[in-house]
């Protein structure tokens, strides 16, 4: 976040800053915590994973002559006798975006050293994630009930089921891992580890609110991926 101050280093903006940072000694990402840099690079790698999934899906869907089921019907919900297209998915999207917002605020309050607020917001985020996973489980069981399997699909191309379960499953795993970590970090926040600089488990690094930002990066990334899945899987 905004330029830190470093003794003996004069920050320049834009591409000139880029050249200067790259040419400087010690660090390339000025003022960026090791853990945060690591999370960004990890997310870059993870982006490639999800891209490969989505590219495979595109290739698979594009080259099958069999009829691809219309997601807007497959994922419709019957509410009071009317079938509302994609209702559940829309709700899931809103839930995930909500949790992304609470996470962003948690980061903000973390940096303002507002322990309580930060902790509650992280918990809210975890709750959002949990709701999301729950709804996904519901959606899976609904489809399975209707006869969709990874290997077949009563509505048309069998790849529909394969890609659906694989991609949403992989994303869901990310969300679940996120929820676990959110809970742990919520505990650590409430316990004040970031105020006292207590060392984390398995690491030599002292606790700091920057860890909330790192966790936040991961969480926003999960949301980001969902944006793409929503567009390509449900709206195509």
């Amino acid at each position: 976040m905004s330029d830190p101050k470093i003794e003996g280093y004069d920050f320049k903006p834009g591409f000139r800053g880029l050249a200067q940072d790259a040419g400087s000694d010690q660090t390339m990402f000025k003022g960026v915590h090791w853990g945060k840099a690591m999370m960004w690079i990890f997310l870059l790698s993870d982006t490639f994973i999800f891209s490969c999934f989505l590219i495979s899906y595109m290739k698979g869907r594009g080259s099958t002559p069999a009829e691809w089921p219309n997601p807007s019907e497959v994922f419709a919900l019957h509410v009071g006798g009317v079938s509302v297209p994609l209702l559940l998915i829309a709700i899931m999207t809103f839930v995930l975006i909500t949790s992304s917002g609470t996470m962003a605020l948690a980061v903000k309050y973390g940096y303002e050293r507002n322990r309580k607020m930060c902790g509650w917001l992280i918990l809210a985020t975890a709750l959002g994630g949990l709701t999301f996973v729950g709804m996904q489980a519901f959606e899976w069981s609904k489809l399975i009930h209707e006869g969709v399997r990874p290997w077949t699909n009563p509505f048309g191309a069998p790849q529909f089921g394969s890609f659906f379960f694989m991609i949403t499953g992989f994303h869901g795993t990310h969300v679940s891992i996120g929820v676990i970590f959110l809970s742990i970090y919520a505990y650590k926040t409430f316990a004040g580890h970031y105020d006292t600089g207590k060392r984390g488990w398995f690491t030599t690094i002292k606790g700091d609110y920057v860890e909330i930002e790192i966790l936040g990066l991961y969480w926003h990334f999960v949301d980001l991926v969902w944006v793409f899945i929503f567009a390509f899987f449900y709206l195509w």
Binding site: G23, D25, T27, I49, W151, Q159, S162
Partner: protein, 612 residues
């Protein structure tokens, strides 16, 4: 647990120090280095045998662990290659070997050598050992994750080895693992074998990601004072860029592997079209085998540069040190590494010219493939121009470097044959390809590894390796390997396809029988020669000449630790400060023919030094 941390007591933070104590007449001006940006790193010091040597968090120990395990897998790969050559050269002697066995050997040989041997050795082994030392860091930035990375690799190797013992044996799908064949009966090991292979790869990727994040962040965020990117030794540049490639290429393998596992055990049809087997239509349908090939090569091509780039980097350093001359065109070398790395993501389908993909891709991929030759060529020129007017020590390390240049140029040029679509059509899937990639991957980077072992052994162990044994080792390996692979190209010209258990009596290949026998003989010899190295290492550990500090008179930081071999934490209680690039050899006006990176400018003010 926290009592195991040193809590900054032993190691004094020295961040407030702005000017190093230069010698007499030091002017603060020219010796000025920015104060430390980041605080000292706390390290976890192990107390018991387990925390010191087994679950150790010291990058140097982890590097050695990687090195030893990778060498172990390499020897397995070597033995498999012997078995293959036995079949190819003397089919009548290898009567016990069935086609199933042969294909299992080929597959495991290829996969082990590329992934578990070379990748692990270069990035895990040399990366761990050299990066912190060469960048002037105390350790990797996340030592704990680094330790887990090695043990993931260990588990991956164990899973791989386990596949030799499951019913049906290891997979025999070829190291490219192309479906549908990889998971159908008719291919050896299509049951458990392939599943274990894929699981092992997934574990490897996960483990590697942990290590890779460490290498990247260490290079990017924890260099010592004065160490700019353009002052890094090329070894670090090579390993660093290769790691970036790995971080971005392994995802494709992971995804492809995952989908293949699902096809195998769940019966999905990602890669499986309608298939008729033994008169029955299987329960697959609609998938696309070519998709897997794209995923595999989107990983696979960067992968071959993952093993090439560290070799490029390390060999540059070795040549420079032993030619007593700065590396010629350092900036160009760095940009070439980066350019090769970047371009390698745009050439993958040159492995698929005859795979039945969209034929128009040929134009695009042939062009990008040949463009890569330009930065690579610049590197070759710069290596030989470094020798030009150097002061070349003709020791074992230099021999390996020269051997590398010769074999790499040879193999690179055969790469140009293959890269040029039309020429690839007749040569693809023949022994020409085998010869190409053994020359450029099996031999060239291996020469660098050997050179690097001779070069850094004194640092790791404090003793020198025997030169005499080394020379034997080199000449047998170099001449032997060259005579394996140079003639092999001509088998490809005749038209002998790769992955052939036996040629039978195809009318036009009978003449190749003699050559195959010769190649096999050379292969046995070369393989056996590697045991000279192992003997040399074991012997020299005990009785080798004591190396002392900096026996090669090198400039780069790793030779300037307070103790040799370096201890945990590398730098004692004071981090080094870097004032120059690592290639100030034979500087006019300087007393000695090298100026270490830690020498402040005020000490050598009467010399004409490159500004870096």
């Amino acid at each position: 647990m926290s009592e195991n941390y040193n809590d900054n007591k032993i190691i004094q933070a020295q961040s407030s120090e702005t000017v190093s104590a230069g010698g007499s007449g030091a002017t603060p001006d020219i010796d000025y280095v920015r104060p430390a940006e980041v605080l000292e790193q706390d390290l976890y010091h192990g107390h018991s045998f387990i925390t010191k040597w087994v679950f150790c968090q010291d990058a140097k120990v982890i590097g050695i662990q990687y090195f030893l395990l990778a060498t172990f897998t390499g020897i397995i790969g070597l033995i498999l290659s012997w078995l293959m050559r036995l079949q190819l050269g003397y089919p009548e002697l290898a009567g016990f070997m069935t086609a199933e066995h042969y294909y299992q050997f080929v597959t495991m040989h290829g996969m082990i050598m590329v992934v578990y041997f070379l990748t692990a050795l270069f990035l895990g082994g040399f990366g761990n050992y050299l990066i912190p030392l060469m960048t002037g860091a105390r350790d990797m930035v996340f030592p704990y994750v680094n330790m887990v990375s090695f043990w993931m690799f260990f588990v991956a190797v164990m899973v791989l080895m386990a596949s030799f013992f499951v019913p049906g044996g290891p997979t025999g799908a070829g190291w490219t693992l192309y479906p549908p064949q990889a998971i159908l009966e008719g291919t050896p090991g299509s049951g458990m074998g392939i599943i274990l292979m894929l699981v092992s790869l997934v574990l490897f990727v996960i483990g590697f990601t942990m290590g890779g994040l460490n290498y990247l962040i260490t290079v990017l965020q924890s260099r010592t004072r004065g160490m700019t990117l353009m002052r890094l030794p090329l070894s670090v540049w090579g390993i660093f860029t290769a790691t970036i490639l790995a971080m971005l290429a392994f995802p494709a393998l992971l995804v492809g592997g995952l989908m293949l596992v699902l096809d195998t055990i769940l019966g999905t049809s990602f890669f499986m079209p309608t298939i008729l087997k033994a008169g029955e239509v299987l329960e697959y349908g609609g998938g696309s085998p070519i998709l897997f090939q794209h995923l595999f090569w989107f990983f696979g091509h960067p992968e071959v540069y993952i093993v090439a780039l560290p070799a490029f980097g390390i060999v540059s350093d070795l040549i420079s040190v032993h030619a007593r001359k700065n590396i010629f065109g350092y900036r160009m070398m760095v940009w070439a590494i980066v350019a090769i790395g970047g371009l390698s993501f745009f050439v993958w389908a040159h492995h698929m010219y005859v795979s039945g993909m969209n034929p128009w891709f040929g134009f695009f991929f042939a062009s990008t493939t040949l463009i890569i030759a330009v930065p690579t060529a610049m590197k070759v020129y710069n290596w030989i121009l470094t020798l030009w007017r150097g002061n070349i020590r003709m020791n074992v390390v230099m021999l390996w470097c020269l051997g590398f240049i010769l074999t790499f140029v040879n193999g690179g040029i055969t790469g140009l044959f293959l890269g040029n679509v039309t020429v690839d059509v007749p040569l693809s899937d023949t022994y020409f390809v085998i010869a190409h990639f053994h020359m450029v991957m099996g031999i060239a980077p291996l020469m660098v590894i050997m050179g690097a072992v001779y070069h850094w052994f004194p640092l790791v162990s404090g003793r020198m390796l025997s030169e005499k044994l080394g020379k034997w080792h080199f000449w047998v390996t170099f001449l032997g390997a060259y005579s394996i692979y140079f003639p092999m190209h001509y088998l490809g010209f005749i038209g002998v396809p790769r992955r052939y258990f036996e040629m039978y009596d195809s009318p036009y290949v009978t003449s190749a029988v003699g050559m195959n026998e010769f190649i096999s003989m050379a292969a046995f010899l070369v393989g056996a020669a590697q045991f000279i190295l192992i003997y040399n290492i074991i012997k020299s550990l005990k009785t080798g000449k004591l190396a002392g500090k900096n026996p090669w008179k090198a400039n780069s930081l790793e030779w300037f630790t307070p103790t040799v071999p370096p201890e945990h934490g590398n730098w004692g209680n004071k981090l080094p400060i870097v004032y120059r690039w690592p290639y100030d050899y034979s500087v006019p006006g300087a007393k000695e023919d090298f100026i270490p990176q830690t020498t402040p400018p005020s000490k050598v003010s009467d010399t004409e030094v490159e500004k870096t």
